[in-house]
Amino acid sequence: MTTTDRKYQYREALREAMIEEMHRDERVFLMGEEVAYYNGAYKVSQGMLDTFGPRRVIDTPISETGFSGLGIGAAMYGLRPIIEFMSWSFCLVAADQIINNAPKMLYMSGGQFGVPIVFRGNNGAGGQLGSTHSWCVESLWAHVPGLKMALPATPRDAKGLLKTAIRDPDPVFFLESERILGIGAHGDKDFSRYLHGKWAPPEVDEDSDENEDFLVPFGQADIVKSGADCTIVTAGRPLHFALEAAEQLEKEDIDCEVIDLRTYRPLDLQTVLQSVRKTNYCVVVDQSWPFASVAAEVAMQVYEHAMDDLDNKVIRVNSDDVPAPYNRRLEQEMLPNTRKIIEAVRTVTYNT
């Protein structure tokens, strides 16, 4: 397998992962709104109807409760559904199915019925979509035991993690970001300095079976940038903000270590702890609200296991604790943006 820095989009990665796994396993199918004839509301599933036909790439009406529950039932009965939410914001109307049924079935049945399903779609502010359409569901759903949660920040991880998710025997909540679907297409900022060799997955060789082997395991964080002065822990879209912050902080001689958790469940705490033991400072960045958030959980676990290694409190950077506004400036301000991360790092390292 070769590793390249070729131009490569996040949406291509998702598509490639699904296509490969559908070729590999007849039980895998894709279902969701506009995934087939429309080629995907965000063009993630472009061409997949042509490749697999309407038996395996299936358009649904706007019936989230119905088709996500259908997926769970089908998974209990031996299939491996990929259920696309046009946006994770729309999973809320199907909450009972996805958090009551999927993650608890195995437990309720005393280990008899697993639910090998992937729920995937855009998560987080898509750009002025207002408060009902800008949900960051990570903290909401990571609360629930029995599900796994991945949130890739690069095309490479998107592909590797999605393939792992599809093969995983448990329900996986796969959180993508509309804002990064298309970056890396034509010279957009892709932080190749830090992501050298990490942007694109290995090139697909049509004549080889090795393609199948590109998997990114769950529960393994990635040290995207190593550094000595302060640990920034994040995942998903905010990784891009964190890298931008790290780049600017370097000019101030603050050398950040940026850790991409990649999955929240399971959570790779060891990598975080090792880093904190080295840097003695920690900032956690998470795009959901601060109250009872993943960031709060990570910070708490750092306190529980590395209190003595910290030279200051842990600082969380979240979205502001308010519904998402429509106005562009307000929305930018609300997000865990680069400025907020820089300020947090300066504060925590006593560089104010």
Partner: protein, 381 residues
Amino acid sequence: MTTATGKKSSSSSQPRDGGRPSDQLDDQRLLELLYDMMLIRRFEERTMQSYMQQKIGGFCHIYTGQEAVAVGSIAALRPDDPVITAYRDHGHALARGMHPRYCMAEMFGKITGCAKGKGGSMHMFDRPNEMYGGHAIVGGQCPLGVGIAFAIQYQKLDRVCLCYLGDGALNQGAFHEAMNLAAIWKLPIVFALENNMYSMGTHIERGTSAAHDLSVKAAAYDMRYAECDGMDMCEVYDCFVDQVARTRPDEGDPDNSEGPVLINVVTYRYQGHSMSDPQKYRTREEVGEKQNEDPITTLSRQLMDQQRATQEQLNELDAEAKKAVLEAVKFAGDSPEPELDELYTDVYLEPYPPYRKGDLPQMVEEAEDRARDGDGRQKQD
């Protein structure tokens, strides 16, 4: 009459016999309604332009083609009847009397917008005009509409809630639960199905059972059903006047109502689903064919055929609509952005730190001032 998929049957071209509610509308009123449709049309043209110029962001859904639905149905209401709809809501807001400047300013994200720039295109709220929003989750407004109707019944008022939904919402659980609740409690609600045949790229025949006969959806809930041609304002008006009257309870006697109704209003959207829709699921010919049934042209022609208006008058009206919209765009452009600390207002009515109490939108304050001066709820322009 039309069938559920919009093929016209011959009856809709029958001559008017003078016995319909729209025959009772005087020239002035008809011209007002035509103006409202022209205003929406011109407004949406500028909305699209402003979106292209990136003055408007987010999801933006254009109402052109469907003007007769909002205008004809709202004309059949009293000013104190509440209205609620989905996200394709600019037309309803304007038809309900929201001044175009507050509607446009909202989409520009300005503090002068109807929701102070916090809601955007999909969330047109106008308390003084009894508009309970613009709602962005498909079907989500249906239970809310039922709740408004419940409150009407509870307070023994003689009002009717008008709740719009798209054909896509027919497949959402919230719609079905709302229908059942409305039916078992005989709530005063009119469900206006704006059947433009598509939910995004999905034709109704592909996503909805019994698309050829939607009356069965109402029958399943033991509810009244009606349908009308949404491309003809007078037909919409006639149908809604009749149905609203049957649903309207007496003041103090909520039982004296024929209960809820589902009205299938067959219409068509000219533009893509939102501003980013390549529309590969339908042909240019199909769109062109529908544009031949244009609701504004239809009403204009009816008025001229009946010698109730001259071409000149109509041109003047249209020029007036254009002018109003230009003024709205200018107002929106000139208005200030909300301050950053507006993030923390309007989260609670009794805020605790770090939240703060917000001011009401300029639109509401002005309306309340006018109400104090004795001419509240009056439509401007």
